[in-house]
């Protein structure tokens, strides 16, 4: 069964443990490639049936703004992809409250349903992971 892993031979249940992965997104979209690269890795990880969470902090909260139209800058608008994550059982999306408020944003400005966390709660979330990938 190598189809889902892109031809890479995976030992089934080699560890038997589902790990908790957290993707920490701290960069605005389009100005750098970080946001898009993070999303690509998240989609790849969906093939491995792990326990995936996404956190949006600092300028990373801008990634999930509604109403992005990128035609005029000739760059792919990848914001609708966040809505597709649900279809890959990636439903744990967290936004840092302080980052959101410092930018004058509210929960309904986002393209996807998120859970808003205080800095202390975010720290707990980070602490509770097996793997943290930062973008």
């Amino acid at each position: 069964m190598t189809e889902a892993t892109g031809g890479i031979e995976m030992e089934e249940n080699s560890s038997g443990k589902i790990k908790k992965f957290l993707y920490v997104n701290r960069k605005a979209p389009y100005g750098t490639i970080y946001a898009l690269e993070s999303l690509e890795v998240v989609l790849i990880s969906a093939a491995f049936d792990q326990d995936v969470s996404l956190a949006f902090l600092d300028d990373g909260v801008y990634q999930i703004m509604k109403g992005q139209h990128t035609k005029a800058i000739d760059v792919k608008n990848f914001s609708p992809t966040y809505r597709a994550l649900e279809g890959y059982d990636i439903e744990k999306l967290y936004v840092d409250k302080e980052s959101m408020e410092a930018r004058g944003l509210k929960e309904d400005d986002f393209i996807v349903p998120v859970k808003v966390l205080s800095t202390a709660e975010m720290a707990d979330l980070m602490q509770s992971q097996d793997v943290v990938l930062s973008f």
Binding site: A28, G31, D59, G67, A72, N77, G104
Partner: protein
């Protein structure tokens, strides 16, 4: 002199530094992630509004639109497209890019 800023004010101190160095006859163009400096209700809004009293500030609309910020731009900031960007470069004898 035309000053261009292309970094987010919450990522770098580029905008703040640029605004401090403005002189009579100067203007600012916010572009790429610099357009986050053009928004209402953020930590840098007051600073930009203050600068607007003395200097024209422009923002590149394609970058505003790409980021979903169409309805959040500070009143008084002039929106330009790419040909407006070129016009500004022609209008001002020198350009300083705050990278």
């Amino acid at each position: 002199m035309l000053h261009t800023v292309n970094k987010s004010p919450t990522e770098r101190n580029t905008l703040e530094s640029c605004l401090k160095h403005l002189k009579k006859g100067g203007a600012v163009l916010l572009m790429e992630d610099g357009v986050y400096g053009a928004l209402k209700g953020t930590a840098s809004t007051k600073l930009v509004e203050q600068a607007l009293k003395n200097y024209p500030i422009y923002a590149l609309y394609p970058d505003i639109e790409a980021r979903g910020m169409q309805d959040r731009v500070i009143d008084g900031i002039k929106l330009v497209d790419y040909s407006g960007f070129v016009d500004l470069v022609v209008e001002y004898p020198t350009v300083q890019a705050w990278l």
